[in-house]
Amino acid sequence: MPVTGEAIVGLLPEIIATVFLFVVLLGGVFAGERNSGLVGALATLGALATFASAAVLLAVGFEGTFFGDSYAVDNFSLFFKLIVSGTAFFTVIAATRWAGTTGDAPEYMTLILSVVVGAMLLASMRDLFGLFLALEIATIPSYAMVAFDRSRRESAEGGMKYLVTGVIASSVLLYGLVLIYGVTGSANLTQVAEAFSGELTPVGLVGIGLMLSGFAFKLSAAPFHFWTPDAYQGAPTSAAAFLSVAPKAATFAVLLRILVEGLPGATTTWASILAVIAIITMFVGNLSALRQRNVRRMLAFSSVAHSGYILVAFAAIQGGGQQTGIQAVLIYSAAYAVMNLGAFFAIDLVGEDAKSFNGLFKTQPALALCMGVFMAALVGIPPFSGFFGKAWVILAGAQSGSILVYAAVGALVINSVISLPYYFGIVRNMFLEEPVSGGVARKDDGGVRFSVYALAILTTVFILFFGLLVTLTGASGLL
């Protein structure tokens, strides 16, 4: 497997992120632990450079597969790399001040960039074992990120729960991958697809089932979602925000690639399984979120629900819905990235208790407006980003021609309505309630504030770039 010049160009985003990973780590050593501003600036620059390189590759239409057909750089993977590095950009900016207070800013930034590298590798992998490695590169630093806040016991607790369930999930996933390898005799997706073109053997079926269960853990899909609220509640806010978006998007990407490129022969099987998982996930996520008083836990369950919405798009990748289904996953991931990241950062500024949002419109109107935008977007109300994600999932469902998918779309519609009270509970607190007497002590952090405003603007102007996004994802390179 020669490393060609073309491969180096194709791997530029990963290379840049890796270089900056070491620069940040070493920069921390040389600049001294107190200089978190410099470390933050370096990490921001790294995320920006990574984003720019991926954007350039996408703009020039770079395509190719490398290392013996095991690594694909195409529109599809580049799109996800943009989401991952863009998310990292806002996270790093928002985390700089806080990371400085822990005294371990270089380590925290390095962890973020490691997740970025792993997640970007993940989006491109066409090899069953390569993708497992990439998944672990993305996951192992994220355990540390969750447990990073040593000032709070919940952080360690969340990290521990995340670690234990994560390791179990990884083993289940690996077991499934090995079984698929055993049946097909190859780890390469093209060859897997050829081997799976005929009748599905029981062992193959078990392999697919275990693999999907493993992914369900990683994507916090019900009934494998139990780690999510504790991990997100315990984690530092920037970690919860980042982990709920970036590695998740990349995991969706690689799952999509395995299913569409590796297992097209078994479409009905996996689509049916995922439709059922999606329906359960949406209901479990939303009904659990309804009961939360802690906004962070609420958003954790909301992220479970949104995994369910995206899985409906997966189930719709059949019949006439293939193209739109894949598009829906991409569009939803982008739409979700901006609105969910923003919502988490807003919590960082306001507080975890739902009551701390009371009267925010009177005390900090701009922040209240931003949070209102995120909440409306998460419900799926136009003209905000989430609406377009949901609309495309419904579109794909309508095209799929499968009764089970129609049921899943119906469940999505019902769940959007179920989700309304808890998201708008926050809006009510902000706009209709009076501020808590005596005021709430709120921290002010310019980095977080910048990220919240920028993300609110992105969530709102999403509509203007939507046509471009559809064109871009229409030629995703998959299929």
């Binding site: 209102g372 409306a376 419900v379 799926g380 109300i381 136009p382 003209p383 609406f387 609309a391 419904i394 579109l395 309508a398 095209q399 779309v409 119906g410 519609v413 959007s416 309505v417 309304l420 009270p421 708008f424 009510r428 706009f431 209709l432 509509i463 939507f466 046509g467 559809v470 064109t471 229409g474």
Partner: protein, 485 residues
């Protein structure tokens, strides 16, 4: 282009007014100025292109947005939507004038009102299903906040109830729209007319969620639970828009989307829509009769007369359809006017309870006179605007569904009963409360909010052809497309 400008000027105005830092007076004048622009443009459109709305090239726009699915930014005005388009511009201006009871955070109030206005104008001018939905939903959050922040003590549960009900309906409607666009191969409303080549079963399956969503918005009676609390709790100027325009987003959807685009799918539901209309009329009248609260009485009366729109539209014949399209406008005028007057009376007397009012005619001749005028219009008296539209709706309804049509006619008698009973108790008789001896009549600002509407009731009552003339070609086009007559 003119249409697009008219739609988005309020949105621009919303941004401007929320950035404006001035005293109350400046804010009010700025809001008046912003609200006047769409009205002037709509008036210009009426006089310049009223004779041939759909043929006027500078009124419509068709820009590709999502090419593979044929979704576009398509706007245009036709006879079906123009009346409501104009009324939206007018009633928003009235709402700005009638906002005298809003003191706190005035600029935010106007900003939200203008965002809602862009949504409403957009709905009546949309020629694309996705665009229609986006504008439809754009009204939701502003209305929720208008009621939720500035309403009375019961506002919070009322606002969230309104939100959940209509969001449930509109999400179902969205699913129907997307299925229709995908199966029909385009999201263009004009191109989909007549069914888009879909079979009857598919049309029925798509029509059901769309009709459900639109009927919740109207609201048709079993789905009306959200309405009363919201109407009663909201501030007067929000009432103007809430009762004058918002229900028409639903009826307009039925008239210009559900029936023309899915004729075969809607057909089995038509007798039931007409029946729901009758239920609205009769239920609204009886419950209005029992209301001790003047505002609640007007609210139920408003639900009731919306029923005529459903009856006329369901008839899908020329008379009924024209009546329904016209009733949307006339209903908006009279109900907005009555809500403003009730607001004035409640503010002066400090109560809305009919039992506590009495003999106001002596102290407030103008206000009570206009109340009587609005009530007489609502009863469907000749030479007032509602007469022509109700009469046509009933005639058309009777022709298509004799039972429903006949029962709808009963509604006119019922509405006469409760309105006359209300007028008798509020206006005439001795002054029951000594405190009312000193109350004054409507002041000039209050009169300014009422008189344009009163004038329109008279003008459209005597010359209904002013509107019927421009809507008739569009109605004929729809009926030709669906094969009715």
């Amino acid at each position: 282009m003119i249409t697009t400008i008219t739609i988005f000027i309020p949105l621009l105005g919303a941004i401007l007014i929320s950035l404006l830092r001035g005293d109350e007076r400046t804010t009010r004048y700025a809001a008046l100025g912003i609200a006047a622009v769409p009205l002037l443009l709509a008036t210009y459109i009426y006089f310049a292109h009223g004779g041939n709305l759909s043929g006027a090239a500078n009124l419509s726009q068709d820009l590709t947005w999502i090419a593979p699915l044929d979704i576009g930014y398509r706007v245009g005005l036709d006879g079906l939507g123009f009346g409501m388009f104009f009324l939206t511009a007018l009633l928003t201006l009235i709402a700005v004038v009638a906002s005298w009871d809003i003191r706190e955070r005035l600029s935010t109030y106007f900003a939200l009102l203008f965002v809602a206005q862009t949504g409403m104008l957009g709905v009546f001018a949309s020629n694309d299903l996705v665009l229609f939905y986006i504008f439809f939903e754009l009204t939701l959050i502003p209305m929720y906040l208008l009621v939720g922040i500035w309403g009375d003590e019961n506002r919070r549960p009322a606002a969230i109830k309104f939100f959940i009900y209509t969001f449930l309906g509109s999400t179902a409607m969205l699913a129907g729209f997307l299925a229709l666009g995908v199966l029909g191969g385009t999201f263009s409303i004009p191109e989909l007319q007549g069914g888009g080549g879909l079979g009857t079963t598919a049309q029925i399956a798509i029509a059901a969620p769309i009709l459900f969503g639109l009927l919740v918005k109207v609201p048709a009676v079993p789905l009306h639970n959200w309405l009363l609390d919201v109407y009663v709790s909201s501030p007067i100027s929000t009432n103007v828009v809430l009762s004058g325009i918002m229900p028409k987003l639903g009826t307009f959807g039925i008239i210009s989307i559900a029936i023309p685009l899915l004729p075969a799918g809607v057909a089995p539901f038509l007798p039931w829509i007409a029946a729901l209309g009758v239920v609205n009329i009769i239920y609204g009248a009886f419950v209005a009769f029992l209301q001790p609260d003047l505002k609640a009485l007007i609210a139920y009366s408003s639900i009731g007369t919306l029923g005529f729109i459903l009856v006329g539209a369901a008839a899908t014949n020329a008379v009924g359809y024209n009546g329904a399209v016209l009733q949307q406008v006339t209903h908006g005028i009279y109900s907005a006017m009555l809500f403003v007057i009730v607001g004035i009376i409640a503010a002066k007397t400090g109560t809305r309870q009919i039992a506590e009012l009495g003999g106001l005619a002596a102290r407030m001749p103008w206000a009570t006179g206009f109340l009587a005028l609005g009530a007489m219009a609502a009863m469907g008296l000749p030479f007032l605007a509602v007469f022509a539209s109700e009469f046509m709706s009933i005639m058309g309804g009777y022709e298509a569904f004799p039972v429903q049509g006949a029962l709808a006619a009963l509604g006119i008698i019922l509405s006469a009963m409760y309105f006359l009973y209300m007028l008798a108790r509020v206006m005439f008789g001795p002054i029951t409360n000594p405190a009312y001896e000193s109350i004054t009549d409507a002041n000039p600002v209050e009169m300014a909010a009422i008189t344009p509407l009163a004038a329109l009731l008279l003008i459209l009552g005597i010359f209904p052809a002013l509107l019927i003339g421009i809507q008739r070609p569009a109605v004929e086009a729809v009926l030709a497309a669906i094969g009715g007559g």
